[in-house]
């Protein structure tokens, strides 16, 4: 119950901020961080709970963005419809990749997700309707009242998506599905022999994860007023979506949020003060450091320290 109260408070705060007179830059930056909350949370459903590493977040994210563009260009669809369609398409993609490779060992699934990035990117590069390699400019529709700017509205939408994503992750984690996924992660063979339908659960996690990533991608074209393959399929989405939960903690739905807030903020600061390349290097180094030294992430460290002081 406390969770839902908290969620409503967060939504109210986001709405309040969007309607306030705050500096426009805040919404640009916050949008990106919230987007990473969704991506990290989505990644963790399969990666953290079930133990199957997805390197291809960029593909699911970008396909969500491209689905939104297609619906917008072809039908003039409103943002809500774009988001739902993006979730469906990316979810289907997740299901497809899962059917192909989740029967095999984890590393084959991981490599297959890299393959998906390349194949999807190659397809978008060769598709003129969505702009091909050079990309497409998009004209934003009129702002829906009561928001003053489109960016503010996108911020509020992304806040809603973040709450939805976290709620889904929390449900999966605490339900019987979550225990089954943990059993798969701990010992897949023993789980199967304990009656857990491992393939079905993995497919479920993969599909839900992909769908949420697609939903996160849908507002992106409107955010930039532009879409192109190189930046949409950027590998740094994949690295961040993986690094944030591993840094925050993969066992709990709070982990990806902590990781996204922490790493997202660091990224914003470093990019602005130093350079984009150093920013990416920092993410990589932090990932390796945490994976080696603090495998349970920030949450794990926190637990260890509180136990130490008791």
């Amino acid at each position: 119950m406390t969770y839902w109260i908290g969620a409503l408070v967060v939504l109210a705060a986001a709405l309040g901020a969007a309607l306030s007179g705050m500096n426009e830059y805040f919404f640009y930056a916050a949008f990106v961080v919230l987007q990473f909350v969704v991506l990290a949370t989505a990644w963790n459903i399969l990666g953290g709970y079930a133990g199957y590493v997805n390197f291809g977040t960029a593909a699911f994210f970008a396909i969500g963005a491209y689905t939104a563009v297609v619906l917008f260009k072809w039908l003039g669809a409103p943002l809500a419809v774009q988001i739902v369609a993006a979730a469906l398409v990316s979810g289907l993609l997740g299901f497809g990749v899962g059917m192909l490779t989740l029967r095999l060992r984890g590393i084959f699934f991981a490599i297959a997700t890299v393959a998906v990035i390349f194949i999807m990117e190659t397809m978008m590069v060769n598709w003129r309707y969505v702009g091909g390699a050079t990309g497409l400019q998009l004209l934003r529709p009129d702002v829906i009242a009561p928001f003053d700017s489109y960016t503010r509205m996108l911020f509020a939408v992304m806040a809603l998506l973040a709450v939805i994503a976290v709620s889904v992750a929390r449900y999966v984690q605490t339900s019987w599905i979550g225990r089954g996924l943990r059993a798969i992660r701990d010992s897949e063979e023993a789980a199967e022999c304990s009656g857990v339908p491992t393939l079905k659960l993995k497919l479920f996690a993969c599909t839900v994860s992909g769908a949420l990533m697609g939903a996160a991608g849908a507002p992106m074209p409107m955010y930039l007023s532009f879409i192109e393959p190189a930046s949409s399929f950027n590998l740094s989405y994949s690295v961040s979506a993986l690094a944030m939960p591993m840094i925050g903690g993969t066992a709990h739905w709070l982990g990806p949020i902590i990781g996204a807030l922490l790493l997202g903020s660091i990224q914003q600061i470093v990019t602005v003060t130093i350079s984009n390349e150093i920013n990416v290097l920092v993410v990589g180094v932090l990932l390796v450091l945490f994976v080696v030294l603090a495998p349970d992430g920030v949450i794990g460290l926190f637990k260890r320290w509180t136990r130490y002081f008791k």
Binding site: W176, R179, G180, R182, A183, R185, D186, S187, E189, A190, A191, E192, C193, S194, G195, V196, P197, T198, L199, A251
Partner: protein, 238 residues
Amino acid sequence: MDSILQVTGVSKHFGGFTALSEVSVDIAPGERFGLIGPNGSGKTTLINCISGSLRNDGGSIRFEGEEISALPAYKRTRRGIARSFQIPRPFRSMSVIENLLVPYEYVAHLKESEAERQAMDILRQIGLAERAHALSNQLSQVELRKLELARAMAARPRLLISDEAMAGLSGSEVDEVLKILFDLNAQGITIIMIEHIMQAVMRFSQRVVCLDAGRIICEGAPDQIVRDPGVQRAYLGA
């Protein structure tokens, strides 16, 4: 009396290597059945084919009259076949009792409170009740072996396969585990025991089969098996 498990002509190949070759065996309901053989003879492969961890390449496996060779392992568990693993595979991130909740939720589909109640019953029966909330990665060897059996029991099987549950245990620990298996059998559960500890196999089994290089070389009562020259050759070498 109809067999509870009918293995007919089962073979399994790994590339060029034949692990099992035309293995056939019938197991009666409620039987205490021993499976022995030297290392590499195919015992665990046979168990894997029965439980579904592996698919057999040829032959048929019928459980309670129905063909199961095409079923994935989790469906076979739901039908009533459970197994423990030779090297214990606990769910490390979970406590002892949580480990049992997995089969309770996925096989018996019980609600958590009812599952916890029944899980505690099993833990009491098996002697792990005080460790119920300990993390499973903190257990001793014999406790892990017991957890393996407890988790298999939580699936409420009619056929339980115990894969070297006593390896590396002391004399009194072997007796503990053996008593648990006897008690389970008394409740009507058919038990297949794979063991190297001969005295345990002899005390426990009503019938014993010996595998060597993927084939059955001898089948019969325990005292028969022990005296069979083929069995002695298999274990001691030509």
